[in-house]
């Protein structure tokens, strides 16, 4: 495994590989994310293609686009974006995720710049992106407005931000906390704090205050009969996603 950077302790590699295998096990701990992923990717790829006039039937339609994946985890979104040709930076505040994601990307033959950092630090360093993926993060931050302002500063004028989160209503409480954490045990208990959930109206207001123009919102809906997720134009009652553009 001498292909890895010399800065990584070789004794740690086996551990990172095991953790990467866990992230990428479709039936394992991150099963709910893997189930949601095709649906998230359909939305993300469709919005990027529309905004930057790209043809998804091309082999690398996102070539030339610099993309930031905030809260990249094991790279479940970073890898598809790199495969489509984007120049990807994956950022995660959890330091342990970075070598894990790196190991997996190298195994997959993908070049991705994974960094242990935050949106605020990247913005302060003057980093600029065409696309910022801000998926299932905003409901975990202490100050959503200051966080979203940082993500806005990371965009070039005309850049696109995709932001998804959880709605706040009795149904989202039942589905996301009682259903996903307690009943299905898809997520560890305490993953979510319901009072931090944000309604679509509130998120649009926050995005505008942060200096972005919200242009689209859709729901991610789970169908228990088909046991799969789909994008819905009308049902934003639990999981939903927004697209915003930085004016310029």
């Amino acid at each position: 495994m001498q292909v890895y950077q010399s800065t990584v302790d070789p004794a740690e590699i086996a551990k990172f590989e095991a953790m990467a295998a866990e992230w990428w096990d479709p039936a394992g701990k991150f099963k709910p994310l893997h189930m949601l992923n095709p649906c998230r990717l359909d939305y993300i790829t469709g919005q990027i293609a529309a905004e930057f006039d790209r043809d998804l039937t091309d082999s690398t339609p996102f070539a030339g686009l610099r993309l930031l994946d905030i809260g990249c985890g094991g790279g479940l979104l970073s890898e598809p974006m790199a495969r489509l040709g984007a120049d990807v930076v994956g950022a995660d505040a959890a330091e342990g995720n970075i070598p894990v994601a790196q190991v997996h990307a190298e195994q997959a033959g993908l070049s991705i710049d994974y960094r242990h950092t935050t949106a605020e630090a990247l913005a302060d360093a003057g980093e600029q992106f065409d696309v910022v993926l801000n998926m299932e993060v905003v409901e975990h931050v202490a100050d959503p407005l200051s966080y979203l302002t940082a993500t806005q500063r990371l965009l070039r004028p005309g850049g696109l931000q995709i932001c998804s989160t959880l709605n706040r209503n009795p149904k989202s409480y039942a589905m996301a906390i009682f259903g996903a954490e307690v009943v299905m045990r898809w997520l560890p208990r305490g993953t979510h704090e319901w009072s931090k959930f944000i309604t679509p109206g509130e998120l649009f207001d926050l995005l505008r205050q942060a200096g972005l123009d919200p242009v689209d919102r859709k729901g991610f809906v789970f169908n228990p009969l088909l046991w799969s997720w789909s994008v819905s134009a009308s049902d934003l009652s639990v999981n939903y996603v927004t697209a915003s553009v930085k004016p310029g």
Partner: protein
């Protein structure tokens, strides 16, 4: 290197492909063309020399392509190469025959005018379909064809698949697809087991020339030893498929030509006038085999490798083309959203789409054959009444026709004639 062709071949062989297809029969090339058109880079590994695949003489073999199958071939640019040689099937007549006693008064009549989508299907001869596939592949840069090489080893892990050929060449890719038939080595090496049973019947296949025109009508007679199908080819020619108990079939097939015809003639009467054999005679043992899984780590199975069916209703190739339509669509949608095309959830989507459909079809054709390959008077009466019922209720008849034309179920885009 002095020989530029040699240089090109060597370079291709050292390349990594997206998808490795094992099997150069019909399904392998069709899948390769469907995938290449959608932007994938593929290699097709064929154990046979290319000459064997492109021999031009008429050997009597033909395929009854359902309308949906014809649409798939049109969508991947193959149909225009065979259209001039295809015979539309305008009507299908199903009769409960009884050797020596003539057909029963009950019969089913399917007329394409009732489904309003075109003919029920087309008959295409093997000698036209294979060269068309080879020519289309040769014109496609994204397809590398490797002839006269067998796979001697395959390896998969969570990152990819590789195969070693009998000349030592190693090919790697994200996914390995077995289009290598009922005895699929790809399935075997992947540890996929099969279930199945033998019918004790063998199909006899030949082509005839007849004095009277067939008017585009296909006939299916159900007789105690097994069904007999007369499928219209271009001109005054028809393809004949009939089945007999295996021992009897081999005895018939060994007969001199005139004696063979003496056995055949009374089985469908004289409505086409006098008949003569054209091309060769073939036998195919009838058995049903289904793979316990259509996918494994970095492996997918297509066509007979996944499900060898009783060819009673010509559903073998048509079912394979449905697999191809589904797999090409699943892989292309995955690729366009940036997924790793060999990732287990991607392959599971293909399996979910095709496995239920296939099991249903296999069980239905098996039951159909058991019901009709029987001379029990009660069963015979039951099926006559059943056929009378199906035939007299237009809605029911249309449902049967749409099924036969391959137009029912959750159709992959290619089988609707649409691009992915």
């Amino acid at each position: 290197m002095d020989n530029p062709d040699q240089a090109r071949i060597v370079r291709h062989m050292s390349e990594t492909q997206d998808i490795l297809i094992v099997g150069g029969g019909l399904n392998g090339p069709v899948l390769a063309l469907a995938l290449a058109q959608a932007g994938h880079k593929v290699a097709v590994i064929d154990a046979l020399p290319v000459q064997t695949r492109s021999e031009d003489g008429f050997d009597g073999r033909g395929y009854a392509l359902a309308l949906a199958s014809q649409r798939l071939l049109a969508a991947i640019g193959v149909w225009n190469r065979v259209a001039d040689h295809a015979q539309p099937m305008l009507e299908i007549k199903v009769t409960d025959g009884h050797a020596g006693a003539g057909p029963s008064p009950f019969f089913l009549h399917f007329d394409h005018a009732e489904i309003e989508e075109g003919p029920m299907g087309y008959m295409v001869e093997d000698r036209h379909l294979r060269p068309a596939l080879l020519a289309a592949m040769a014109e496609t840069d994204a397809i590398t064809v490797i002839n006269e090489r067998r796979v001697v080893a395959q390896e998969t892990d969570h990152n990819g698949a590789s195969v070693t050929l009998d000349d030592g060449t190693e090919l790697t890719g994200a996914l390995l697809v077995g289009c290598d038939g009922r005895t699929s080595g790809t399935a075997g090496r992947a540890g996929i087991k099969r279930a199945g049973w033998d019918y004790g019947q063998t199909a006899l296949v030949c082509a005839i020339e007849h004095d009277l025109p067939h008017n585009g009508i296909a006939h299916q007679f159900f007789m105690p030893p097994g069904p007999l199908a007369i499928l219209p080819l271009t001109g005054n020619r028809s393809s004949i498929v009939w089945s007999e108990r295996t021992e009897m079939a081999h005895r018939i097939n060994a007969l001199p030509e005139e004696d063979y015809l003496q056995v055949l003639r009374p089985r469908f009467g004289d409505f086409l006038g006098d008949i003569r054999l054209r091309g060769g005679r073939f036998t195919y043992p009838l058995n049903l085999t289904i793979a316990n899984s259509f996918v494994a780590e970095r492996v997918a199975l297509v066509g007979d490798a996944a499900h060898g069916m009783h060819p009673i209703a010509g559903q073998g190739l048509n079912a394979g083309l449905r697999d191809i339509g589904a797999l090409a669509q699943v892989l292309t949608e995955a690729r366009r959203r940036g997924e790793d095309i060999g990732f287990p959830p991607v392959l599971e989507r293909y399996q979910q789409w095709r496995r239920f459909d296939t099991a249903t079809m296999a069980v239905a054709t098996d039951a159909f054959n058991k019901l009709f390959s029987n001379d029990n008077p009660a069963l015979r009466m039951a099926r006559d009444v059943g056929m009378g019922l199906v035939g007299s209720v237009p809605g029911l008849r249309r449902a049967f026709m749409r099924e036969a034309a391959g137009l029912s179920g959750d159709l992959p885009l290619l089988l609707q004639g649409r691009q992915i």
